[in-house]
Amino acid sequence: MAGIVGAVVQPVLIVTGAPVLVGMMRQVRARLEGRAGAGVMQPWRDLRKLFGKERITPRGTSEVFRVAPLVLVATTLVVTVVAPFVTTDSAVDPAADLFAVVALLALGAVALALAGLDTGTAFGGMGASREMTILALVEPTLLVAIFALSVRVGSTNLAAIVSATVHDPGRVISPASLLAAVALIVVIIAETGRLPVDNPSTHLELTMVHEAMILEYAGPDLALVELASAMRLSVFLGLLANLFLPWGVATTAAPLALLVGVVALVVKIGVLGALLAAGEVFLAKLRLFRVPELLAGSFLLALLAVGASFFLA
């Protein structure tokens, strides 16, 4: 029962909340930089404007280019349905698996990279190649970092990991989960294209990764891509929050527990987003050649986390 409710509440919450999260993060940055900012609801206003435009695609592009935004949104939506954000009861429990969720998220990124190649422009290809460089280093780290947490639970089911942590809060301060948390934070920053790996607010060709791939999109397609990347940010922050600080997540179907779960999720993602945005103010973008160094470091931390969970505990 809780699974069905969660499967309805989680996607609705994340689809409506993700652009607000992006707006909130931009607002935090603007205030810290001494600007007034466009307001928290600006991403929604942008999306509404973009959805109202006509669909145009560049001449010479194939179906790959047209389907990619849909694949990106669809895979992210499936993740929001199955992963434990509000409740640990999943409607499609077998799909709430660590490997399935990471594969779904990677599928969306690959679809977008293919679309970038499909346009045949220099920027699209460059962005796609950079994205694949980062993705090839991010995916193993993501898997290994969460795997470190699943070792003690004995299951790669995300809901099982989260509910095990709820029942035994002492796990949170073990070396394995601390190392995994640091690795996961680095990986999430790289995967969602935030500073210092990618600058989300630039159109400068030297620095962009994500922007370069979606340069040819316009109108509703662009809106879908923007919405999906905002959703991915919420999904990653939600996973980080619930894997390491799972308090408040609903374990029963009681309406009150679900309400607490919703509020806890909103607060946790909001706080993490504000921290990320505040941190970005103090960072400069890393040179692209230094990024593998950063990601290799986080991979090592994830591996040490797995080692620690096997040998220390």
């Binding site: 070396p175 394995a176 470091g297 090592l300 040490l304």
Partner: protein, 220 residues
């Protein structure tokens, strides 16, 4: 102290030891490396203090205080003074093995340490001996830093990392090697650092740099 709290604190100290060793390998700024090394000294002292609280022995508490004073206070202070007189060379610009590869090498070294210390752990399985691979890892990472860095100062940090690892293994295997032995080893390390510091200063006076790469002469 209850059993679970003891194990948690011990594991936390070992995790901090491991994390700081990796950070030394990761960062390039010599000032940051020295600060991380001081943090590792704190972690090592915490490890000894946890064991001391467990055993309830005054001697171990004294050793913990000594480790804290030497490895988190004295040695970082000496290193910082050596760095302050260095002038321009504040960064490890070009290690022999680039940072990304050396981090992956550290992952391999970790696995090697786990494999190599397996028989040692199986001699007397307990939460304390289970942490021995961490000490071995720190020794191997320290050795790696020692052989792949060019600056004399970061090589010195590598040497001290090795020593931290050896001390950690000593405490984990024997629950304290005795005050006298520990005192002797600590004095030895202090002496080595002092000698190497003088050597570094002489090197800079003679060659104008502590970079051990001979090709630099062509630029000058």
């Amino acid at each position: 102290m209850s059993e679970t709290l003891f194990v948690q604190l011990l594991d936390l100290a070992c995790g901090a030891l491991l994390l700081t060793a990796v950070l030394v390998l990761w960062r390039r700024e010599l000032a940051v490396i020295i600060r991380v090394f001081a943090l590792q000294g704190v972690a090592l002292a915490a490890l000894v203090a946890v064991l001391a609280a467990r055993e309830g022995s005054g001697e171990l508490w004294a050793v913990a205080a000594g480790v804290l004073a030497l490895r988190a206070g004295m040695l970082p202070y000496l290193l910082r003074r050596a760095l302050a007189s260095a002038g321009e060379t504040q960064r490890e610009t070009r290690p022999v093995v680039n940072v990304a590869s050396s981090l992956l090498a550290a992952a391999v070294l970790t696995l090697l340490a786990y494999a190599a210390s397996r028989p040692l752990v199986e001699l007397a399985p307990s939460p304390v001996t289970a942490a021995i691979p961490v000490g071995v890892t720190v020794v191997l990472i320290g050795f790696f830093v020692l052989v792949t860095r060019r600056r004399a100062l970061s090589q010195l940090v590598g040497f001290l990392l090795m020593d931290n690892g050896i001390t950690a293994i000593g405490f984990l295997t024997t629950s304290g090697v005795g005050l006298i032995v520990e005192l002797g080893v600590s004095l030895d390390v202090l002496l080595a650092v002092l000698v190497l510091q003088i050597l570094t200063t002489r090197m800079r006076e003679t060659f104008g740099d502590t970079d051990l790469d001979e090709l630099r002469e062509l630029h000058d």
